[in-house]
């Protein structure tokens, strides 16, 4: 009686709430996307379609500032995600494929520490830390802070993936006289790839997204996209900000889509 069981499952109104939920989630983004194509200088008046604000982002008076901020953001996100993913992959192997040990719980707590501590507290603690050791603030301080809080985000998908890979493949390799290093690099790593890519993308986006911690530890004149946008928005929402937002939105959506298809393809195989 499939129809009957489906009936038991469905509640009137839940579908409507789901639609409402999606509207709330998408309405602000879509509105900003639409207004980014507004020809008008004012954000309240609609004067027809135009790409002038996109041109403004690349050639306008503030283009230099935003280009540098975008470069900083992507540089930091790339390095931080790469380092964090490497650290997380090694750590996941150590946690899952290296037997039981006494400090396992403590290690797990340490890895998830940045997730448990509220962002603003991490920001304060990192600022105090760099101040106490008199570490000059600049891109380097942002990068170090980002590496630390990206580790758990990279660790989660990587360890989930590793939990799902039986060790029989590595055992087979070891039985055929592969060294452990070979088993690790030639067998485990390729199997781990989807998890590692998800972890990297997650860390990348989290780094690209961060405002609070960056704002606390950034040095003189060093801006990332979020701090530059925040600074601009404080003086009022301007059309060029909407154009930048729409482009950044595009980058995020592309990255999630990639990660979605990777995980989907992986499930099929």
């Amino acid at each position: 009686m499939p129809s009957n069981s489906f009936d038991i499952k469905s509640y009137r109104g839940f579908q409507a709430i789901t639609i409402l939920c999606l509207i709330i989630l998408y309405a602000p983004l879509i509105v900003v996307m639409i207004y980014s194509f507004n020809a008008s200088k004012s954000i309240t008046v609609w004067e027809g379609l135009s790409l002038r604000w996109y041109a403004d982002v690349f050639t306008g008076p503030e283009s230099g500032k935003f280009k540098l901020a975008a470069w900083n953001s992507f540089l930091i996100a790339t390095i931080a995600a790469t380092v964090a993913t490497t650290i997380a992959t090694l750590a996941a192997t150590g946690m899952i494929r290296a037997g039981k040990f006494r400090l396992r719980n403590l290690s797990y707590g340490l890895i998830s520490l940045p997730l448990m501590v509220p962002e603003i507290v991490t920001a304060v603690a990192t600022l105090i830390f760099f101040n106490a050791i008199a570490f000059e603030r600049g891109l380097m301080t942002i990068l170090l802070a980002h590496i630390a809080f990206c580790i758990p985000f990279a660790y989660l998908p990587i360890s989930a993936r590793m939990q799902g890979i039986e060790d029989s493949y590595e055992q087979a390799a070891l039985d055929l006289y592969a060294t452990k290093r070979q088993a690790f690099t030639k067998i485990l790593m390729p199997l781990m790839m989807p998890g590692i890519i998800s972890g990297f993308l997650l860390a990348f986006i989290v780094s690209l997204d961060d405002f609070i911690i960056t704002n606390f530890v950034k040095g003189a004149g060093v801006e990332t996209l979020p701090t530059a946008i925040f600074g601009a928005v404080k003086q009022g929402i301007k059309p060029n900000i909407m154009a930048i937002s729409t482009m950044l939105l595009g980058v995020s959506v592309v990255m999630v889509t990639i990660s979605y298809f990777i995980s989907k393809k992986d499930q099929k195989s």
């Binding site: 009957n4 038991i8 499952k9 469905s10 509640y11 109104g13 839940f14 709430i17 789901t18 939920c21 999606l22 989630l25 983004l29 509105v31 900003v32 309240t44 490497t86 650290i87 090694l90 750590a91 192997t93 150590g94 899952i96 494929r97 290296a98 037997g99 039981k100 290690s107 340490l110 520490l113 940045p114 448990m116 501590v117 509220p118 962002e119 603003i120 507290v121 991490t122 304060v124 603690a125 105090i128 830390f129 590496i147 580790i151 039986e166 060790d167 055992q171 070891l174 690209l208 997204d209 405002f211 609070i212 925040f230 929402i237 937002s245 950044l248 995020s252 999630v256 979605y260 989907k264």
Partner: protein, 308 residues
Amino acid sequence: MASGAASGGSANTDTYEEARSWLLLPAWVTLVALSLIPVLLMLVYSFLTKEFRGGVIWEFSLAAYDQFFFDRGLFGDDPATLEWTYITIFWRSIWQAGAATLLSLLIGFPTAYFIATRPETSRPIWVFLVTIPYWVNLLIRTVSMKFLLRDQGPLNDLLIGLGLIDSPLHMVNTNFAVQLGLFYSYLPFMVLPIYAAVERYNFALSEAAADLYASKWTTLRRVLLPSVKPGVIAGCILVFVPSLGAFLAPDLLGGAKNFMIGSLIEEQFKGNAGNWPFGAAASMILLTMVLIILMIFARQQARAEREV
């Protein structure tokens, strides 16, 4: 070989046991240096003497905590009474975060349930749809929300256009805007764990209840809800905790007037106040609150697992 045979087919093995220290060392070094030590240092700073206009003097002092909990009047020489200022700010943050959590639950639960009861092939697409906005920069989402809610913004235009209201609703710089912003920031955190729990739920239980003439809503309340409770609690925690220390939503949508914890702390380091030990103390109190909530949660989850 022996170990391989014993654990054949399992994921948790000791294959790389001898390399364990080297595998974990980078994570240990990075996180101890950049996460643990900073938090401990912050604890130390909260017990130091404040330097006039920012910074610290390395002398032990309880002044930061004293300022947080005790009111000694305008001139600092009245007998100490309980200081309500910061307790009020914390209470407001709890209230705002609570309201945002409730809002997320009211909308997130039906959504998660609806998605989990779709045919298996279309579920990932629904999940994908709900999670995309989360990947968009939080700052951009908050700014978008502010743009939408403005007095002369699109939402008011729409409502007036539809004839639902005559004059614009004032939404920016209100508590409601902050709650909506928090809700918007963390909604997927509510939907995903509930979705996972409902997906695992065995609907034969609901059918059994229906066979016993339980109404649909009774079934939902008495049979389904208890089974998916861990997912619901996880969702609530995942929304509540980050909302508690949020900075962007209160700052951009709340007009920096009704302080929440995040703005209070920020002002000690970046704004007018310049009182580092106090900022560190407020951060410690926030951290303690969060850790207590997480501990209670972990204990409940453990108990729930034992029951299942």
